[in-house]
């Protein structure tokens, strides 16, 4: 007689663990507390995934987020109710703005206590509603497995995003049979995958007939793992390509057809080509206000826009498009490549003339900077970082001037290597992002490019890095200013540097050492390269590098707020 397997009768806490195991989760980033004690007890008894104890819940979510950005897998964070849950919000909102798949499990007060202002109670489902793809409150132990199955499915399909699962404490102590559903059927959720073939044909025809074609790709291309297909298409068509801040690495930066990043701090050639092209292919990008600051100025030139995106609501939201294609970027680009291959395009005289025009824009050398005042230029540090790491590091950043310099001067050739908060612009992500990357790829070089403002927003994670011996290298571009704030105050507020000066800074070398790490301070340009080599040679050590940089350096090019793509301020203009 065939043996029948009976489902196991286990606690809700154990069911949570078994679900994570079924989803093949390798790391859970979290912080314990009252409402999740049963879950932590179940974690103690399991051996399937590693729990990473952070020092603040915000860092748990950021680390899970970076793990996902680096690997493409769903990141998982676990926090307790009340303050644990609210501390996680910035991390969740950051992931939401950049469409990163996460499952965040939060503890909740016991069901009978909900709504009674219990100790450490907060309405997590209500608080997170505007910054999650979806969220659930589980009120019955029998629903835990199906809810978590749905959470993972929703997080990673369609346009990805964070999903919160709020689980009351009493539910985790109740018993139920554990059966993990094989699949999910939701009548209300059926994300599109394949693009409309008629529209795809139309798009390819437009691209082949274009006189001044341009390709613009964003974070969606990276999330959709479609880089190789993009390279194939761009090569076959012989067209120029630009990436957004979120899309860097989507196309190899060292390739000749790459015009650099576009937007507020994009290159002259990328922004000019965006403005002057006659056919624009946008892939997994959303024409946001840091890319097209002034839509009326953008409309002042005629061009036909093809927009490929998995989210219909991203299409014609800020900029009207002519050929919308809703679908998975990978499947759409594959179909485009097949059609282009049939045509065997050759370079037309018009395309040749377009490239001549682009080369003349490129000749402006808009990223040149002067390096002769005896002070360390932040751009120089990033260039040397690229050389020393052979362009192959995971580079995380915080938010501000250093972020823009890292984006402009580190030439990313691979996707999922540039990890930063593009949409929400969250200061403090850099160090926890570096942690997530290092867990994702333990032997890789991981550099956290940061500022002295940002790094202090999650500095406590130096302790986590010590506990797990993470050999991260912190590249602090220390200009003793909130640099981007100062730059705007210089340009638009007549040098009134209101509250943008970072006074009373710690001795970062001693601070790093007190956490058991290596600290270095670099004050001379001639020491930059040697120090970077020395740091990256310490393969098993966390090294905190405090570069004392030129205080007055600004990020160029810059499109002032509300100005058009061709209205850039260049360094040479000043």
């Amino acid at each position: 007689m065939a043996e029948t397997t009976h489902p196991q009768h286990i606690t809700g806490a154990e069911i949570v663990i078994r679900c994570l195991e079924q989803e093949n989760v390798k790391f859970v980033f979290g912080y314990p507390g009252g409402a999740v004690l049963h879950i932590y007890d179940a974690i103690y008894k399991q051996g399937h995934f590693k729990h990473i104890l952070v020092r603040h819940e915000q860092a748990a979510v950021h680390a899970a987020d970076a793990f996902s950005r680096a690997t493409g897998e769903v990141g998982v964070a676990l926090v307790t109710s009340g303050p644990g849950a609210t501390n996680a919000i910035t991390g969740i909102a950051t992931a939401y703005m950049d469409s990163i798949p996460l499952v965040v499990i939060s503890g909740q007060v016991p069901v009978p206590a909900i709504g009674l202002d219990a100790f450490q109670e907060v309405d997590m489902v209500g608080v997170t509603r505007p910054c999650v793809k979806h969220n659930f409150l589980v009120k019955d132990v029998k629903d835990i497995a199906t809810t978590l199955k749905k959470a993972f499915y929703i997080a990673k399909t369609g346009r990805p995003g964070p999903v919160v699962v709020d689980i009351p404490k009493d539910i985790t102590a109740h018993f139920a049979d554990f059966v993990y559903p094989e699949s999910v059927e939701m009548r209300s959720y059926n994300p599109v995958t394949k693009g409309h073939s008629g529209q795809i044909k139309k798009a390819v025809k437009l691209l082949l007939e274009a006189k001044r074609p341009m390709v613009y790709t964003g974070g969606g291309l990276v999330l959709g793992d479609a880089s190789e297909l993009l390279v194939k298409l761009v090569k076959a068509l012989g067209v120029p390509v630009t990436n957004t801040l979120m899309g860097l690495g989507g196309y190899p930066s060292t390739d000749k057809q790459f015009l650099g990043m576009l937007g507020m701090h994009g290159t002259y050639e990328a922004n000019m080509a965006m403005q002057d092209c006659d056919v624009l292919l946008a892939v997994g990008a959303r024409f946001d206000d840091r890319v097209i600051g002034n839509t009326d100025h953008f409309y002042s030139k005629d061009r036909t826009i093809i927009h490929v995106d998995i989210d219909p609501s991203s299409i014609s939201k800020r900029v009207k498009v002519h050929v919308p294609i809703v679908g998975d970027v990978k499947s759409v680009l594959a179909e485009m490549n097949e059609l282009v291959a049939l045509e065997k395009p050759t370079q037309s005289p018009a395309l040749k003339a377009w490239w001549t025009q682009i080369e003349s824009w490129r000749g402006k050398l808009c990223l040149d900077y002067s390096n002769n005042n005896g002070l360390i230029k932040p751009q120089y540090v990033i260039e040397k970082l690229w050389e020393v790491t052979k362009g192959d590091a995971y580079v995380t950043s915080d938010v501000g001037q250093h972020q823009m310099w890292a984006a402009q001067y580190y030439k990313f050739d691979k996707p999922r290597r540039w990890i930063n908060s593009g949409g929400l612009g969250t200061m403090g992500v850099g160090l926890p992002y570096a942690m997530g990357c290092q867990f994702a790829d333990p032997t890789a070089q991981v550099a956290c490019v940061t500022g002295e403002g940002s790094i202090q927003m999650n500095i406590q994670e130096l302790s986590t890095c010590k506990q797990y011996s993470l050999p991260i290298k912190v590249i602090l571009l220390n200009n003793r200013y909130l640099g981007m704030v100062r730059q705007w105050q210089e340009f638009f507020y007549e040098n009134r540097y209101s509250e943008s000066y970072m006074d009373s800074l710690p001795d970062f070398v001693k601070l790093a050492e007190s956490y058991g790490h290596v600290g270095m301070q670099i004050t001379k340009p001639e020491d930059v390269e040697g120090a970077l080599k020395e740091a990256f040679d310490m393969k098993s050590r966390f090294v905190f590098m405090d570069f004392i940089t030129d205080q007055k350096e600004n990020v160029f090019p810059m499109i002032p707020n509300g100005k058009g793509l061709s209205e850039m301020i260049l360094a040479e203009d000043l």
Binding site: V125, G126, R129, M186, R187, S188, P312
Partner: protein, 163 residues
């Protein structure tokens, strides 16, 4: 332009707040919103009266479709439809007012559903315009209380919103 958007959504706790939250977060107008379960108790039907340019309405429909709990969305203004709203009005009904109120009620094909010393409560259904006209037709001083449900709408003929 004024639009009536109908949608079917999972009848789950918090579903209404997702829709209401979407409208406030993205700055869309809500003139009225009504919601109740359908013949299938797992589904709720919601009617939202909103206004905006064509671009805004297009975004509203897309954003509603994006909500995980929303099963189907229909912009009733894309075709022919019927719209009805229910109103209850409590009015002064003393002396000469009493006969006047009865007459107004008859003209608008309303019904008096509660009679008390000095007051009538009138039930009236129709389009929002009809209800507005009734209110305007009454002496303002005679109105003690009004309550309106907001519009419900349904497509004409074989335009059907169903799962």
């Amino acid at each position: 332009m004024r639009h009536i958007v109908s949608l079917l959504m999972e009848n789950e706790a918090g579903a209404l707040s997702r829709v209401a939250g979407l409208f406030s977060a993205r700055g869309y107008n809500i003139e009225s919103l009504t919601v109740a379960p359908t013949e299938d108790p797992t589904l709720s039907r919601m009617t939202i009266v909103t206004s905006g340019s064509d671009d805004v309405i297009e975004q509203i429909i897309k954003q509603l479709n994006k909500l995980v709990d929303v099963v189907k969305v229909l912009d009733l203004n894309d075709g022919k439809f019927i719209e009805r709203e229910l109103m209850l009005v409590k009015v002064k009904a003393t002396g000469a007012f009493r006969e006047e109120m009865k007459r107004m009620c008859d003209i608008f094909r309303g019904r008096i559903i509660d009679v008390a010393d000095g007051t009538f409560t009138i039930e009236l259904t129709g389009s929002g315009h009809k209800l507005d006209a009734f209110i305007e037709g009454l002496d303002n001083a005679a109105i003690l209380e009004t309550v309106r449900t907001g519009a419900s709408g349904i497509g004409r003929g074989d335009r059907i919103l169903k799962v």
